[in-house]
Symmetry: C2
Subunit: 429 residues, 2 copies
């Protein structure tokens, strides 16, 4: 039997950090009652004194020096909520070296150096918990680790970026342009001042890597993720998508194929009847397809101070239980295997394509020939409306190799009557 | 450090039992690799030799005598998949007395005697795990126990019965009558030969009690659940519901109100935009509303041999980890408080009402007066179509006390022009 009191130190008093402190203040007593031992928030470090002050904790619990948390032998668990790679990586390394359990919400770090840090933790017979790094307040990492332990996951499909989901929802509901929807999201706090990582899909890619590691038991790598952001999606695409029974979402998709892992992030047409289609606004959801359970989905708030704080504190409780009961060797991610990766070019998907073309005879034939030559068969062809002097044509292909599709597209780009830069969006298969 | 090999005994070789054996055969090696110790399926008991034979296990692992499993000192964990109260209750009691961890999928038992059995387990410093008792393959109990430990759950809304959800889906999609949809469900194995517990809402009530215990930390009681089955729902109601933007689901709803717990199971109009609305066919989902995470949903297969087997084996792994690492005192449900209950009559909800009335002057006035007198204000009135000589009238109220609504209804029943036994369905608030 271990200790009756487990002491926690917090690095970072930003929005999430304050959320954790507030939630601890509000529910700490009820948590302690549930787990039958005492979790004590011992000290909080942040460089910014004003942020520390805003926590409204006793003076002695506050410090501007992370070392006062990291090197305090009385502290058992470190919560890292600084974000980004440095100094978070050095701090977590130091915490592990000092034998402390780590709880983090840091997706960049876990996607880039998660394996290294988990290996280090394992070497020390301790652990790192990172539920809050994906899907904010949605219980996801824990179910992937424990609940689906007996199953074999085949595919993960996630709406894991709240900013882009909010933008698409607003574009669909109010026919807003992407730029207007983004401004709205920024005004409401669903997008950061610099939304690049969200808009370009990098944030979703980080989360995909973290999930794929766990789901497939393989070493997923960030630079093997195909990433396409949402900038190319026009509200017209959302309109046409709806007409043919789809909605558009930025999806993070991880698949285990016979040839290896296929990891990708891109805007995707999702059938309206699919559970992911009704995940709106800033909410997130992760749809898991597996051999035995078949389909399971986790839905909820992917960000926000209080939701994320619930995930952080749940991890703290898990770490504290490990300490309390001397549970060693909790790193279930230890046996990740090396894996091959399947390039996006070798995947078979369906495409939506919106083209502007001069409204004259022979254009359809040129299109049809280009696709026919590459063996790309078409499921739907909609010539919808005239835009100025042009005809707007929407096509949906049957399943096709990416490579063949792009070869056909290359041929089409040679047809003078067709305007360059068509909208191209993949469908969820 | 505990044992390197953990031995498991299984009681019951029915559909789920066979699923567990099959899944263990298929994925046992990969599970053992993940958890770094050996789970061994030591023995299976069933009265029926044919069912044992169908497992295709070595002869020595099979027995028709449960005692050969329960009293084998080499067995650490008992999986109970017999179902029903007896002999399951006696067997689990005996397993606990013998110091064995228990894993069960038995909702009837856990809803009726869960507290008693958990207390007994706690007294022995062991535990009972029952993930498979609610929501089949959906990770739910574990997230409620651990992931939301720092949050305060305010309301649970669940589609937890696959049979009735399948029936409503078919009625909506194909305008089937309830009876035809039920026959279809039986043909496809989504409904049992005797579907009473499903159709009458009892199955959902069992699951609600199990979830409410965990979610609210209060002792929920089966006989304090208001239960209304689906027999009163006509396909016309589904049709009208859709017209006003709703779908009909059998919901299990648990709320913590200032006056106590309110627990109920009844058909409910769910807004089409709500995540529960798109949970179709035999699938289940549990929507959790809480203070910090706000809204979280768990979706997946609520039944079926293989999905349920994943939940059972996840519990076995958790039990095995407790044994392996000598984790005592894992019963987090120990501190359930006594609670008051709020009667359905004191709840405030919105009602949908479909009435047949003679198509003559004064009927609307009589209706309006009856509602007006009881302070029931109407949100929508639709006089839709003539059925024979009658007018079909659909009303939706604003929020109203149940008591007041039924008093108004009583008055209406005195109006000769109105046919008795209108359709009455609550809305999800």
């Amino acid at each position: 039997m271990g200790k009756n009191t487990v002491k926690v130190g917090l690095l970072g008093a930003g929005t999430i950090g304050k959320g954790v402190v507030d939630l601890y203040k509000r529910n700490g007593a009820s948590i302690n009652k549930k787990i039958d031992f005492d979790l004590v928030l011992e000290r909080v470090a942040d460089r910014d004194e004003n942020r520390l002050k805003a926590l409204e904790l006793e003076e002695k619990k506050l410090t501007t020096d992370a070392a006062h948390v990291l090197d305090d032998p009385g502290i058992d668990i470190i919560i890292e909520l600084i974000g980004g790679i440095e100094p978070a990586r050095s701090f977590i390394t130091r915490a592990l070296e000092n034998g402390k359990y780590v709880v983090t919400a840091n997706k960049d770090l876990m996607a880039s150096y998660g394996q290294e840090l988990l290996d280090m933790a394992r070497g020390k017979n301790i652990n790192i918990f990172y539920e809050a790094s994906v899907g904010g307040g949605i219980p996801l990492i824990r179910p992937l680790k424990y609940s689906l332990v007996a199953d074999r996951i085949q595919r993960l499909v996630g709406i894991v970026n709240g900013t882009t989901n909010y933008i698409f929802t607003r574009m669909a509901q109010d026919d807003l342009s992407l730029q207007d929807a983004l401004s709205e999201a920024q005004r409401l706090g669903f997008a950061e001042a610099d939304p690049t990582n969200d808009i370009e899909g990098l944030d979703a890619a980080y989360k995909l890597v973290i999930m794929a590691n766990l789901a497939f038991g393989k070493k997923a790598e960030l630079d093997r993720v195909y990433i396409q952001g949402i900038r190319g999606v026009n509200y017209k695409d959302i309109f046409y998508a709806r007409e043919i029974g789809y909605t558009i979402k930025l999806l993070a998709i991880g698949e285990e194929l016979p040839e290896g892992l296929a990891l990708r992030v891109h805007p995707t047409l999702v059938p309206l009847g699919h559970p992911l289609a009704s995940v709106s606004n800033e909410l997130n959801a992760i749809f898991v397809e597996s051999e035995a359970a078949r389909e399971v989905m986790f839905y909820g708030p992917g960000a926000g101070a209080m939701p994320t704080a619930t995930a952080v504190l749940a991890d703290v409780v898990e770490a504290a239980r490990c300490i309390r009961f001397n549970v060693a060797d909790g790193v279930i991610e230890k046996s990740l295997a090396e894996t091959a990766f399947v390039s996006i070019q070798d995947l078979t998907v369906r495409f939506y394509l919106r083209i502007l073309a001069e409204d004259r005879p022979g254009v359809f034939a040129a299109l049809a020939n280009a696709f026919g030559d590459e063996g790309v068969s078409l499921d739907m062809i909609i010539q919808k409306r005239r835009v100025d002097d042009m005809a707007e044509i929407v096509l949906v292909t049957h399943e096709v190799k990416e490579k063949a599709f792009y070869q056909a597209l290359h041929k089409i780009s040679g047809v003078a009557a067709i305007k360059p830069d068509p909208s191209i969006i993949r469908l969820l298969g």
